[in-house]
Symmetry: D2
Subunit: 409 residues, 4 copies
C-alpha cells in the first residue's frame, strides 16, 4: 500500500465501517462484470421473506471476507510468521473470489436447472478465465484456493471450519436478519489467530469465543438458514423451476430472459462448460433478477399449475410446513396428496409439485474435517472437541436431521 | 390487543428488534399483494451502487414507520390526549400505506415512463381500491391521510416535517448505508411528543434532538440521497428509460415484461388511471425486477446507443459527475457534447443521453410548511426556527442548489 | 399511568435508550437514600481491573431490571393473563429492591467483615424498614419477593432461572465489559414469555434464544465473573479485609470511615441487626468508597503486611493465578509458601494472606431448581433440559469446578 | 511490533472492541501508579447523577485516544507522509499522558482547593518526573506535547480542534451517557486525515463528517457537559469544598484522607509544586475516592452548614437550577438569599454556599484557534468555516453564554 493510487477505494459497510481495497488488482477484479454480477445475487436467497432485512448480496459478503482477511494477515504477521506481499495478495484474491461461481438462489438452481455442475466448479472456471484476462496474476491465488500451495494455513484462511468466509457470513447474516443471537466476535477471534506447524490455531484464551462461534453457527442454522418458512419458500422455488424445466422439455413457451432460456431449454453437463466457453458467458449474465422476473410473469401463464405455484411465491402465500425429528409416515403423505389433488384439481404428476417432503441436516462442528485447533501457553495444540472441558462438542458433532412436509394451507 | 388472535404477527427488524402488527386489518393489509409488492421495491433505488448495504425495501420502511406510530400513539395517550381505538387503527393504516403508490425507482420512472401521474396519486388510487375490498374499513384512514379529519395532529403524525415516515427513513437509511452521521434518536423524539391546540409539538427539552434531526437530515441529503455517484446512476437510468420510450414510439422491439410493455409502449394520463381500472392492476405488477431485468437484456440489443447506456449501468461504469454551486457554462457543455459525439460516434439527438446537466436542491427545514413546534414548560409554543438560540435555522431554511454535469469518462 | 404527574421520570440508559418510572412510589423509592446508595456500589466489584468499562452500578442494574419488568407485564397481559395494577406495582417494587441489601464488593465483605449475615437477609431488613416508612405500601411486594403470594409466576419474574434480574445483568455486564459473546436478546425472550398453570413459560419458538441464554450465561461466568485476574483481585481484597480485621482485633489503629469502623472493630450477628436498628443505618452508609479509600490510605500503614497487600491492589500489581481442573498439590503449595515467606520476610500466619488457594464452580443450568419451561403449540410444557433436542443440557447441568492458586509474581 | 513480547497487551473496550499497546514503553507507562490512578478518576465527574452510565474513567479515555492515534498514524503513513518509529512512539506517549495531571472532579478542585495550578501544569510535572524515571525516553513526547517539535502536525494530533482526544471523548461520552446524538464517526474522520504543509487536514469528502462533528460537540456541551442538573451538582461540590477549606483555615477538624488533608489545610502555589517534590507525590494519591468518601463522612459533621450541603450531594437532593440567556436580576437574587437565609437559618456568609449564580459558555468552533482545514481535490486548503457552503459556521463560532441560578428547592 506504498503508493496511494487512484485504485485504493473505500467501501461503506454498516458492519465494519469501512472496507478498503488493499491491492490494485483487487480493485480491478471488483470492477469486473463477473464480480459486479454478485451485486444482484442475494446472500440468503429467499430468506428475506421471513427476515425482511436480509437482502444483502454476495458482493457485500465477499468484500467483508476480504476485509477480515486483511486483519488476519496483519495479526499473523505480528506474531512473527511470514506472509509475503505476493502471498498476501493471492490469499486476498482467493477469498474475494471464493463465491464467484454462485448462481441466483444457488441451491435452488443446483437442484432444478443447472444440475450437473456445482457452484464450486463454476468458481474455478471463472477464476481460470480471469487468470487469462489478468495475464496469470491469479495463479498463486488459484493454487491457494485449490489447496495446492505448500503453506497450508493460507488455504485454511480461505476454507476451513474457521475461515474468513464463515467469520464474515455469520456476522453479516445475523446483522441483516436482526437475529442477534448469531452475532460473533470476528475481531476477537482474529486477534487470537496463530500458526503452529503450518496449521491455523486459536490461542487458548480464545476458547470461549470459539465455543460461542460454534453455538452461534448452530443457532443460525436452525433459526435462519433452515427456518421452516425459508425451507418452504425455497422448496417452492425449486418446484417452480423443475416444473418450468418440464414444460420447457415439452416445448411450452415461457417468458424468459435469454440466459435463463439457455439453461431452461437445454441440459448441460460439466464437460459442456469446458467445451463451450459461451456457456460460462451466459451463466455470467444470470442473477436473481432473471429468476424472479420470469416467475412474476409466469403468474399469468395459461398453464394453471405453473401459474398457481408462481402466485404462491410472488404473493407470499407460502406452503405450510411441518417439521419433526422422524421421517413422515408415507400413508399420511399419500392421504395428503389425494386431498390436495382433489382440492386443486391436479393429476398424479402435478401434485408432487405441491406436496413435498424431505429432510435437512446440520452438524455444528465436524470432527472429521480439518479441526479447529487450540494452542495452549505451553505449546500444546488440541482439537477444540478435546480442549473444551465444558461444551459437549461430541454432541454438537452429531448430525441433526429434521424432516419436513410442505403443502398448501 | 385484548385478544391474542393468530393475526398478531411479529416481524424481525435489525433496527427495532421486533415489530408487531397491532390490529387484525394491519395483518390483512400486509398480506395483500399490493403491499407484498413493496418487498420488491428498494427504498433507495440505485443507492446500493454507492452504499452496498442499502438494499432495504419500501416494505421494511412501511413496517418500521408503523412501529413508530404505535410508540407515538402510546406516548401521546400517556400525556392525557385521547386517541380512540378507531383513530389509532386509522392512523396506523395511513402510515402503513403512505408509500404504497411508489413504483420502482420512483423518481426515475416519473421522469421517463409514467410521467403524468405522481406516486401520491397512485397511493390514493390503491387506498381507494383497498377500501372497497375491505368494505369501507379504510375510510377514516383515508380521511386522515388526506388531512380531512378534524383532529389535525393525527395527519401530522403521518405527514409533516416530523412525521413517523421521516423518523423511520432517516434511521433506516443511515443504518443500512452505514452512514452513522445520519443516525437519529427516533425513540427520544417520540418521548418528547405532545399535542397542543391539536398541533403536534415537541417538549422543550427535546430541542437539541430536533436540531440534530434537522442537521442529520441535511447531511443524509448531501451524503446519500444526492450523492454525486447516486445522481449519476439515477440520471443514467432516466436516460435509458427515456431512450427506450423513444425506441418504443418508433415501434422498435424491446424485451419487456408485460406490465413494463404496457407503460413503455403507451402514454397514459391520470384520467386513464381513473377510467381504466386494469391500468392500476398493471402498475401493481411493476417493480424493481421488471426494470433491471429488461435493462440487463437490453445490454445486448442491436441498437448501439441503448446497449451502450445499459452496459454502463449494469456493469457499473457510471458517468463521471462534476458538481458545483453555479450552473455550468453552456459553451463548456457544447464542447463536451461535440467531443463525446465524435468519440462515441453519436448523432445530435443521441448525445443528449450521454451528456446531461441539471441541478439538485435541498432545504433542511421549511419554515413555510407546517413548522416544528417546541412546547416550553410555561406553555409557550414556538417554531423551532425561533426557539433555537443556537442553530441558525434561517440558514438551514435556504434552499441549497447544486448543479451537476454527467458524461462518460 | 393515567396521570402525567411530576413523578414520572425518564432515565437515560445506553442499553434500553430510556427507562421511565411507571408508578409514583417507584419514583419515591429511587429517591430514597437507601436506594441512592446503590449508585456507589459497582455491580461487578473489581472486574473493572480487567474490563475497564465495567464500572456500572447496582443502581443502574436495578433500573434496568425494573424496565424489563414493565415489558414482561405488558407481554403477559397481552396474552390474556391478569396482572392487576396492584400486582404490577408490587412486582415492580420487588425487582427494583431485589438487590438493595448488597454491600460494597458483596462477596468480599461476606467473606471477611460482615460475615454472619447475607445480602439477602439485609435486603429483607431494608424492605421491612421501607415498608414502615411507606405505610405498608410494600407489603404485597415483600410477599411476592418472599414467594408467599399465591400467584407464583410473579415471584418467578423476580427470582428464577429466567428472571428480570438475570435478563438485565447478563445484557448489562456484556455491554459494559465489551464481551459481546454475552449479549442476550432480552427483548426477544420477553416476547416469548407466557404463563401456564401459574408457571412462567417460554413459547416453543423461543427455544433457541433460551439455549443461547444458557450458553451466554456460562460464557460470562468463565470469561468475566470468574476470570482469573478478577478472582485474583477479589481474593486479594478479601485477604486485605481479613487481615485488617485481625489487626482491629488487636486494637491496631486503622484509618476508617465511621461505618467501616463499626463493622471492622466489632463482630455482629444476624440477631444484632434485628435488635439494634442503628446497625442497619450504619450499613446503609457503607459503599465502595469506604472500602477503597481506606485501602488506599492503608498503603502507607506502618504494618508492612497490610501496606504490601494494599499496594498490590491499588497499583494493580495483582497476584499471579494458576487455574486447573484438579485441586493443587499440597506439597506444591507448602513449597510455594516457604519460598514466599523467605522472599517477603513473612511469618507462618502472614504468608497465608499472600498464597491462597480454593475453587470456583459454576453450573450453567440447574435442573433441580425451578426449571425453565418450554410451551409447545399443542399445549405441552417441557423442561428445557428435555425440550432441547440439540444442546446437551445435562452436560451444562454438571457443576464445573476450577481450582486456583494465587501468589505474588 | 515485530517481536510479540509479553508487553503487548490487549484491553477490552466496549467502543473499539480491542485496544492493544503498540510499544513496550506504553505498557510500562500504563502499569505505572501515576497512570493507574486515572482508573479512579471519572471522565465526567458528577455527570453520572444525571446519566447513570457515565462512570467511565480518564484511564479508559486515555487508552481510547491512544488507540485512535494508532489508526491516525497508519492512515497518514499510507498517504505517503513519513512518521518515523520514534515519532510514532512519542506521539503515542503524548496522547496517552495528555490528561495525566487531572485531579478528581478537576474543575471543581481547581475552583476550590488546588486553585493556583491547572491540570495542564500538573500533567507537565508528571511527564517530567516520568521522563527521569524512564531515562529520557519521553523527551520527544514532551517536545511534541509542548509543540516544540518541528513537525507541527504531530502536535495537532495531540491537541487541536480535531485531535485524538476529542475524537475519543465525544464518542466515549456519548456511548456511556447513552446520548446517541453525540455519536461521531471517529473512524470515518481518521480515514479522511491528511497532511498538507505540515498541517493536519481533512479531505474534502469528509466535510459533512466534520460539520457533524462540530454540531455533535455543541450538542454534547448543552445536553451533557453543561446540563443544568450536572451544573447544579458540580456547583454544589465546589461549594462544599470551598466551605470545607474555610473551616480548615479556622482549624476545624474534618475527616480527611492524608493527601486531601495536605491540600485542604494548606495553600500551595505553582512554585511550591516545583520546589517540593513530595507535593506531586501527594497529588498522585488523590482521586475521586478521597473526595466522595470525605463528603460522605461530612454529612454527619457537627457543622450544620457542611452537613446540610453534603447531604444534598450524597442523597442527590440537588439544588434547583434556572437557566436563561441573560444575567439574573440582582434584586431577585438578593430576595432569594433572604428567603433561604430565613428558611435554613443561615448567616450572610453561609447563604452564599446555598444560592449561587454564574454563567457557562461554549463555542462550537473557534476560528481564532488552529482551524480545521479542508483539503480539496485540486490541492486548495480552506478553513471549514469557509469551506462549508451549508452550515453557518460563523454562527457556531459565536460564544453562547447561559446564566444559571441554583438554590435549594
Amino acid at each position: 500500500m506504498t503508493n496511494s493510487s487512484n485504485k485504493r477505494k473505500i467501501f461503506n459497510d454498516p458492519i465494519y465501517g469501512f472496507v478498503s481495497t488493499p491491492f490494485e488488482i483487487i480493485f480491478d477484479l471488483i470492477e469486473h462484470p463477473y464480480f459486479q454480477r454478485l451485486r444482484r445475487i442475494k446472500q440468503l436467497g429467499l430468506t428475506n421473506l421471513v427476515y425482511p432485512g436480509s437482502l444483502h448480496t454476495r458482493f457485500h459478503h465477499a468484500m467483508g471476507a476480504m476485509h477480515l482477511m486483511g486483519l488476519a494477515i496483519e495479526e499473523i504477521r505480528s506474531k512473527g510468521h511470514e506472509i509475503t506481499e505476493d502471498e498476501a495478495k493471492a490469499v486476498t484474491i482467493a477469498i474475494l473470489l471464493h463465491d464467484i461461481g454462485h448462481g441466483p438462489f444457488s441451491h435452488a438452481l443446483e437442484h432444478s436447472i443447472v444440475n450437473n455442475i456445482t457452484h464450486e466448479d463454476i468458481s474455478q472456471l471463472f477464476m481460470d478465465r480471469l487468470n487469462i484476462e489478468f495475464n496469470g496474476e491469479l495463479t498463486l491465488a488459484i493454487k491457494i484456493f485449490k489447496n495446492n500451495y505448500h503453506k497450508k494455513f493460507l488455504h485454511q484462511l480461505v476454507s476451513s471450519q474457521l475461515d474468513m468466509d464463515r467469520l464474515d457470513y455469520l456476522k453479516r447474516d445475523s446483522f441483516f436478519t436482526g437475529v442477534s443471537e448469531g452475532v460473533i466476535s470476528s475481531d476477537r477471534i482474529i486477534k487470537m489467530l496463530n500458526v503452529v506447524n503450518d496449521q491455523l490455531t486459536i490461542e487458548a484464551k480464545g476458547i470461549y469465543s470459539i465455543e460461542k462461534f460454534i453455538i452461534a453457527r448452530r443457532l443460525m442454522y436452525w433459526q435462519v438458514y433452515l427456518h421452516k418458512t425459508v425451507l418452504s419458500a425455497e422448496n417452492l422455488l425449486v418446484n417452480i423451476l423443475k416444473y418450468a424445466k418440464e414444460l420447457a422439455k415439452n416445448n411450452v413457451e415461457l417468458f424468459c430472459t435469454p440466459p435463463l432460456k439457455t439453461f431452461l431449454y437445454n441440459q448441460f453437463s460439466k464437460i459442456d462448460f469446458t467445451n463451450k466457453p459461451e456457456l460460462l458467458d451466459a451463466f455470467a449474465l444470470l442473477d436473481d433478477y432473471d429468476i424472479m422476473t420470469s416467475i412474476k410473469v409466469w403468474t399469468a401463464h395459461t398453464d394453471n399449475v405453473l401459474s398457481m405455484l408462481c402466485k404462491h411465491l410472488v404473493n407470499r402465500k407460502l406452503f405450510k410446513v411441518e417439521m419433526q425429528g422422524m421421517a413422515f409416515d408415507k400413508i399420511k403423505i399419500e392421504k395428503l396428496k389425494n386431498e390436495i389433488k382433489k382440492r386443486l384439481n391436479l393429476n398424479d404428476n402435478e401434485v408432487n409439485y405441491f406436496v413435498l417432503s424431505g429432510y435437512v441436516a446440520n452438524d455444528a462442528y465436524r470432527g472429521d474435517r480439518i479441526s479447529i485447533n487450540i494452542l495452549f501457553k505451553d505449546g500444546t495444540v488440541l482439537d477444540i472437541a478435546k480442549a473444551s472441558d465444558q461444551l459437549n462438542i461430541e454432541v454438537l458433532e452429531k448430525t441433526v436431521k429434521k424432516y419436513y412436509l410442505c403443502y398448501p394451507k
